[in-house]
Symmetry: C2
Subunit: 367 residues, 2 copies
């Protein structure tokens, strides 16, 4: 008994997440106006105009609690994804669903298996519950599925496959995934984090929703409205799984976790397929442009299936980050993923990509 | 090892929260159009027009992640509350802060102390972490502080004081609270849930922020934008505490827990003191009207310091609830709080209050 409240020992080891620097913060700190953010894999085209209209229409209703069941959003998603509303759980961003999964399945001492490098929030969620993350190194920037299967023990409750992987942009293919799912014991829940699914162009990318449609009960697929749907600011993501999984996760969900504006905008964004198409097309063009520029600069990059590129700049990324920022470009340093000479850059609009390349050339000469 | 993922045993006992029925759901189920909701203690005047304008202005920016630090909202709150931004933590509604507190302080087997009846989410949060809620019966619908102090053991980590109390509307006064805080050992964090603080008219209501301003490090005060500020749909609440508490709770907070629209609207709502004043005045008038009507109907009610009234209708509240709903009025049944003959009704606009009283009279004659 101390003389002040003390937090749980389990959470002392949690390292705070380092978010992409907000534009306003850079403007405030450096006193510069023209800032572009290529750090958080947002959709540079912005939200669907239909979503913006839905927000305006809903703005006077915000005094009411949101629908805690997300009835209409689930109906829309179920129709689009060809699953039942009972297969859906909606979260305050996929971030929240990650934490809900940890709260549902991890007791102290339990393990999760994840790739390294991959999205840091899997480990965060595990640590909140006193769990331990077993990190399996990537091979050639890709998930090493056989090593991940081998890392599963009787303590393993969750395996995370980030597909496409953040920060590398690589994917796990259909055949490899099917083989992996056969190896994983049925008590282990396989979490397919598909935040960037809509950007994938590779034909061997798995339709993992098919596992759920076929009644497989140890897979959950996570998707988000934060990326291609351009609604990161609203916080809305979802999970698709067998209803038993959804019911269990719902036990730990707060009743009003998804705000009213997010629900309204997500429904509208989902219908605007033209906006998604345009966003994908722009991403594909930007990808080609940046590949060409990196090659001209003799920089090695990891070919991506997402809306960002992990590129080896062969200099200390924190230094490069600082200098790029002074030129109004925010990127993500690789050190937080264990690759100190890499940066992760979001594919922007053509104008943003050009500004980034201009700034990068200048900085690489200076640093 | 089963043949499917199994959830933690600790969460099996969680009873799902029963939210106030959404208007749309009642319209859908009963096929009626004119429905008023007096079930969730929302502000019937709606949001501040300034908040609505802020939402419209922000609607095209939703493709960007929100500021994970809530910089500008914290600045506004700090100025208004006369605390430092380091004393503030912002949540996806106060609901989220309750869960964050449990995640920060409760290991399996730890205890919380709370009143009964009181807000059910305290127990929910405790159960998620394998904690146990010690519920101390109210006396005369009020927190029994000496019994609550006596219920504190070496396992107690959190004590919840809901002030005004939901669902009874009663308050803990300044002198009683000060006495209680002297009795509680310093390792116990006292959570003052003041969601309805802005509605209180009693002069002996404590200024609990003064404890934080004076450096007391085992008190956290929770407030919300969901009630008098009319932003329930956006999900934004906050905690005020010593920076050490805030830092510890921040360990378990997801990086982008508070959406961008909520931050923009909350800043605007906070400045619109006229709207808060008008809301308070309407509540005071509605309170008088409803007291008079209840007295005329010979119904006993608990005098309230909040925007709802707990009233003894001397009939099965679930029956009355169903019949009221058919007449387009949604209230909250008392059975969920252990008072099956009570209903909790939100004080609405004059028109809504009149519609409620009309419906109640009809129903009490029928049931």
């Amino acid at each position: 008994m101390g003389n002040a409240p003390t937090c749980r020992e389990a959470i002392l080891a949690i390292k705070p997440y380092i978010p992409g620097k907000p534009i306003e913060e850079v403007q405030r700190e450096l006193g510069i106006k023209d800032v572009i953010k290529l750090a958080s894999n947002e959709n540079p085209l912005g939200p669907s105009p239909d979503a913006v209209q839905a927000l305006r229409d809903a703005s006077e209703k915000v005094y009411l609690y949101p629908d805690g069941n997300c009835y209409y959003l689930k109906e829309s998603l179920a129709e689009k994804l060809k699953v039942s509303p009972e297969n859906l759980i909606i979260g305050n961003g996929t971030d929240e669903i990650l934490k809900l999964l940890a709260e549902t399945y991890l007791d102290s001492g339990d393990e999760i298996v994840m790739a390294d490098p991959s999205f840091s929030e899997y480990e965060f969620a595990a640590k909140v519950m006193g769990g331990r993350a077993i990190k399996v190194p990537c091979r050639n920037f890709r998930h090493d599925l056989s090593a991940m299967a081998a890392a599963v023990t009787t303590k393993t409750k969750l395996v995370f496959i980030c597909n496409p992987n953040n920060p590398t942009g690589t994917i796990v293919g259909k055949a490899a995934l099917e083989g992996f799912l056969k190896e994983v014991p049925p008590h282990v829940l396989v979490v397919m984090d598909e935040a960037y699914a809509e950007y994938v162009t590779a034909e061997h990318y798995p339709d993992s929703l098919e596992f759920v449609r076929n009644g497989m009960n140890n897979v959950i697929v996570l998707r988000t409205f934060s990326k291609i749907y351009g609604l990161a600011g609203l916080r809305v993501g979802y999970g698709v799984a067998a209803s038993q999984i959804v019911n269990d996760v719902n036990r730990v969900r707060e009743p009003f976790n998804v705000n009213l504006m997010a629900q309204a905008a997500a429904i509208a964004a989902l219908k605007d397929e033209a906006h998604v198409g345009k966003s994908l097309e722009m991403n594909n063009e930007g990808k080609k442009y940046l590949y060409n520029q990196f090659e001209a600069l003799n920089l090695k990059y990891v070919p991506t299936e997402a809306n960002f590129i992990f590129v080896n700049i062969e200099k200390d990324s924190r230094e490069v980050f600082k200098e790029l920022m002074k030129k109004g470009v925010i990127v993500r340093t690789g050190d937080i993923f264990g690759y100190k000479d890499f940066i992760r850059v979001t594919i922007g609009t053509q104008r943003q990509n050009e500004q980034f390349i201009w700034a990068l050339k200048e900085v690489l000469n200076e640093v």
